[in-house]
Symmetry: C2
Subunit: 203 residues, 2 copies
């Protein structure tokens, strides 16, 4: 198999951190999204959607969507479990991963893409008012996660999971979106220091 | 357990269809989102996020996020499998469910909430330009799914899955967003007629 990687793009990072936590090594081909390589004819022949990351299997099947790629590896190698354990554990990881993604990550992404001049060719049309509306949403999502982290070591409970990975890449994506972690979110900061120190964070 | 149901809201419908396909019966308490009952003090005591659907377990744990609630029931009762079978099958259901949700459902939701006068109190601020920008995105997502349905019986392949449920509620939510299925998407229309005729669709 071959993983088409997107470098610094948060979704690409999500998959690399996931693989590092699993201890899985996959051949990678870098796709330079700064040069829009994901929209070239040769890459569109592999993934017509023109996005990375994308995992090409030996039979030619292409899996896109970072969480779908992660789930494929979770099924191939369940240990360590990163999608939760047991019915309730799996449901809670799903719930927190979705909150991290839909409430935090997407808000940060919209704020970034709709207000950053460098994104004008990528996000068409850029709607500045929509970008601005997403900054307070991102803050509210960080407050929600901070309240959870006041009670639990990790985002979905006492065990590190994909919800931590999603939250980590989102939190480290706020700076280009001109958002900062509010000073009083001490639990989020404690958690961030801990997760950023894991070897996987540099994957 | 008790399921706090949101009536006609697409996410509430998603869970009810899922349960009907599983043949699972769960006690339900209706929450009238037309009257903003999800924001009342008594409901906020159950779910501080003020959203439905929400599943309260006997130990008091509350699961929100419709896909997380569905996953809980998938783990409790695997048959019929609605999240896929095998590593690749599960990855492909995850991929198509995410495409249906992120590309189609969210586009329809943004188009509806940001352009419908009745949503002005709910979606603050309403950004009309952002709502308008989402209509062509919803069309593009329907084209993507139509191309998949030209090759496969269901959205994620040959087996009915949660990706069909997400697509169904999204497609039946396009009218209030002033979007229509383009006439040439015959595969999507064939699939819609088939899925809308399943007994679960009236759940």
């Amino acid at each position: 198999m071959l993983l088409f990687d997107g470098g610094r793009a948060p979704n690409a990072r999500r998959v690399r951190i996931f693989l590092a936590e699993k201890g899985i090594s996959v051949p990678m081909q870098p796709i330079d999204i700064g040069k829009m390589e994901q929209r070239t004819e040769s890459f569109l022949a592999i993934n017509p959607l023109g996005c990375v990351p994308a995992l090409k299997l030996d039979d030619g099947t292409v899996i896109t969507e970072s969480v779908a790629i992660c789930r494929y590896f979770e099924e191939l190698q369940p240990d360590p479990p990163l999608f939760g354990v047991g019915a309730l554990g799996k449901a809670l990881v799903e719930m927190w991963n979705r909150r991290a993604e839909l409430e935090l990550y997407l808000s940060v992404q919209h704020a970034f893409r709709h207000t950053h001049p460098g994104m004008a060719d990528y996000e068409v049309p850029q709607v500045a008012a929509w970008g601005e509306a997403n900054r307070p949403r991102a803050i509210a999502a960080m407050q929600l996660i901070d309240a959870q982290l006041a009670k639990h070591r990790y985002v979905a409970g006492e065990r590190y999971s994909i919800a931590d990975i999603t939250t980590l890449v989102a939190v480290e994506f706020i700076k280009p979106a001109k958002i900062a972690i509010p000073d009083d979110l001490v639990h989020l900061k404690r958690w961030h220091a801990e997760c950023a120190a894991r070897p996987s964070a540099s994957a």
